[in-house]
Symmetry: C2
Subunit: 83 residues, 2 copies
Protein backbone atom coordinates (compact mmCIF):
# COMPACT_ATOMS: atom_id res chain seq x y z
CA UNK A 1 0.00 0.00 0.00
CA UNK A 2 1.35 3.43 -0.90
CA UNK A 3 -0.63 6.62 -0.48
CA UNK A 4 -0.31 9.89 -2.33
CA UNK A 5 -0.18 13.06 -0.25
CA UNK A 6 -0.54 16.63 -1.42
CA UNK A 7 -1.65 18.08 1.89
CA UNK A 8 -1.27 17.55 5.63
CA UNK A 9 -4.69 15.95 5.57
CA UNK A 10 -3.67 13.40 2.94
CA UNK A 11 -0.54 12.58 4.87
CA UNK A 12 -2.40 12.28 8.15
CA UNK A 13 -4.80 9.91 6.49
CA UNK A 14 -1.94 7.84 5.11
CA UNK A 15 -0.39 7.62 8.56
CA UNK A 16 -3.66 6.53 10.07
CA UNK A 17 -4.10 3.82 7.46
CA UNK A 18 -0.57 2.57 7.98
CA UNK A 19 -1.03 2.52 11.75
CA UNK A 20 -4.21 0.51 11.44
CA UNK A 21 -2.60 -1.83 8.95
CA UNK A 22 0.08 -2.43 11.57
CA UNK A 23 -2.63 -3.15 14.11
CA UNK A 24 -1.61 -0.36 16.46
CA UNK A 25 -3.64 2.07 18.53
CA UNK A 26 -2.56 5.70 18.75
CA UNK A 27 -1.39 4.94 22.28
CA UNK A 28 0.81 2.08 21.14
CA UNK A 29 2.25 4.12 18.31
CA UNK A 30 2.87 6.92 20.80
CA UNK A 31 4.85 4.54 22.97
CA UNK A 32 7.01 3.34 20.15
CA UNK A 33 7.56 6.74 18.58
CA UNK A 34 8.16 8.71 21.75
CA UNK A 35 5.31 11.09 20.92
CA UNK A 36 1.96 11.53 22.65
CA UNK A 37 -1.35 10.00 21.74
CA UNK A 38 -2.85 13.47 21.63
CA UNK A 39 -0.21 14.61 19.19
CA UNK A 40 -0.78 11.64 16.92
CA UNK A 41 -4.48 12.36 16.92
CA UNK A 42 -3.79 15.84 15.63
CA UNK A 43 -1.37 14.66 12.97
CA UNK A 44 -3.76 12.02 11.68
CA UNK A 45 -6.48 14.61 11.46
CA UNK A 46 -4.35 16.72 9.18
CA UNK A 47 -3.20 19.49 11.43
CA UNK A 48 -1.28 21.80 9.08
CA UNK A 49 1.08 23.17 11.68
CA UNK A 50 2.57 19.82 12.60
CA UNK A 51 6.34 19.82 12.57
CA UNK A 52 8.22 17.86 9.94
CA UNK A 53 10.26 16.27 12.69
CA UNK A 54 7.11 14.85 14.24
CA UNK A 55 5.93 13.39 10.96
CA UNK A 56 9.23 11.65 10.32
CA UNK A 57 9.27 10.20 13.81
CA UNK A 58 5.88 8.70 13.10
CA UNK A 59 6.92 7.41 9.70
CA UNK A 60 10.01 5.80 11.20
CA UNK A 61 7.94 4.06 13.88
CA UNK A 62 5.69 2.72 11.14
CA UNK A 63 8.62 1.76 8.93
CA UNK A 64 7.50 4.10 6.19
CA UNK A 65 9.38 6.51 3.97
CA UNK A 66 8.34 9.30 1.66
CA UNK A 67 9.05 9.69 -2.00
CA UNK A 68 8.88 13.13 -3.60
CA UNK A 69 7.91 12.93 -7.24
CA UNK A 70 6.24 14.90 -9.99
CA UNK A 71 2.51 15.06 -9.51
CA UNK A 72 0.55 12.37 -11.25
CA UNK A 73 -2.83 13.08 -12.80
CA UNK A 74 -4.36 11.08 -9.99
CA UNK A 75 -7.99 10.13 -9.55
CA UNK A 76 -10.13 12.46 -7.50
CA UNK A 77 -10.66 9.85 -4.81
CA UNK A 78 -6.98 9.88 -3.98
CA UNK A 79 -7.27 13.41 -2.66
CA UNK A 80 -10.53 13.38 -0.77
CA UNK A 81 -9.72 16.41 1.30
CA UNK A 82 -9.55 18.64 -1.76
CA UNK A 83 -13.32 18.96 -1.67
Amino acid sequence: MSLIARSPKNLGHAIREARKAAGLSQGELAARSGLWQETISKVENGHAGTKLETVFELLAALDLELVARARSKGSASDFEDLF
Copy 2:
Protein backbone atom coordinates in the same frame (compact mmCIF):
# COMPACT_ATOMS: atom_id res chain seq x y z
CA MET B 1 13.37 12.06 -10.79
CA SER B 2 11.91 10.88 -7.50
CA LEU B 3 13.75 11.15 -4.22
CA ILE B 4 13.38 9.10 -1.08
CA ALA B 5 13.06 10.97 2.20
CA ARG B 6 13.34 9.58 5.71
CA SER B 7 14.27 12.82 7.40
CA PRO B 8 13.77 16.56 7.09
CA LYS B 9 17.23 16.74 5.61
CA ASN B 10 16.41 14.24 2.87
CA LEU B 11 13.24 16.11 2.05
CA GLY B 12 14.98 19.47 2.02
CA HIS B 13 17.51 18.05 -0.36
CA ALA B 14 14.77 16.72 -2.61
CA ILE B 15 13.12 20.11 -2.67
CA ARG B 16 16.37 21.81 -3.54
CA GLU B 17 16.99 19.38 -6.40
CA ALA B 18 13.48 19.88 -7.73
CA ARG B 19 13.81 23.64 -7.53
CA LYS B 20 17.06 23.59 -9.44
CA ALA B 21 15.63 21.20 -11.98
CA ALA B 22 12.88 23.77 -12.51
CA GLY B 23 15.52 26.45 -12.99
CA LEU B 24 14.31 28.57 -10.09
CA SER B 25 16.20 30.54 -7.46
CA GLN B 26 14.99 30.48 -3.87
CA GLY B 27 13.72 34.00 -4.44
CA GLU B 28 11.65 32.98 -7.43
CA LEU B 29 10.24 29.97 -5.62
CA ALA B 30 9.45 32.24 -2.69
CA ALA B 31 7.47 34.51 -5.00
CA ARG B 32 5.45 31.69 -6.47
CA SER B 33 4.84 29.90 -3.17
CA GLY B 34 4.07 32.90 -1.03
CA LEU B 35 6.86 32.04 1.38
CA TRP B 36 10.13 33.83 2.05
CA GLN B 37 13.53 33.14 0.57
CA GLU B 38 14.91 32.86 4.08
CA THR B 39 12.32 30.25 4.97
CA ILE B 40 13.07 28.22 1.87
CA SER B 41 16.75 28.29 2.73
CA LYS B 42 15.99 26.76 6.10
CA VAL B 43 13.71 24.10 4.67
CA GLU B 44 16.23 23.06 2.03
CA ASN B 45 18.87 22.76 4.69
CA GLY B 46 16.73 20.28 6.57
CA HIS B 47 15.42 22.30 9.46
CA ALA B 48 13.52 19.76 11.55
CA GLY B 49 11.03 22.20 12.98
CA THR B 50 9.62 23.25 9.63
CA LYS B 51 5.85 23.09 9.49
CA LEU B 52 4.14 20.52 7.30
CA GLU B 53 2.05 23.28 5.84
CA THR B 54 5.19 25.04 4.63
CA VAL B 55 6.53 21.91 3.00
CA PHE B 56 3.33 21.25 1.12
CA GLU B 57 3.20 24.84 -0.11
CA LEU B 58 6.66 24.35 -1.53
CA LEU B 59 5.79 21.00 -3.06
CA ALA B 60 2.70 22.49 -4.68
CA ALA B 61 4.72 25.35 -6.16
CA LEU B 62 7.12 22.79 -7.61
CA ASP B 63 4.31 20.54 -8.81
CA LEU B 64 5.45 17.69 -6.61
CA GLU B 65 3.59 15.26 -4.45
CA LEU B 66 4.62 12.81 -1.76
CA VAL B 67 4.04 9.09 -1.64
CA ALA B 68 4.14 7.30 1.70
CA ARG B 69 5.26 3.71 1.31
CA ALA B 70 6.95 0.89 3.16
CA ARG B 71 10.66 1.50 3.50
CA SER B 72 12.79 0.02 0.80
CA LYS B 73 16.21 -1.45 1.57
CA GLY B 74 17.74 1.58 -0.14
CA SER B 75 21.38 2.16 -0.96
CA ALA B 76 23.35 4.14 1.55
CA SER B 77 23.90 7.02 -0.86
CA ASP B 78 20.19 7.72 -0.93
CA PHE B 79 20.28 8.81 2.69
CA GLU B 80 23.44 10.79 2.92
CA ASP B 81 22.45 12.64 6.05
CA LEU B 82 22.38 9.47 8.06
CA PHE B 83 26.13 9.69 8.52
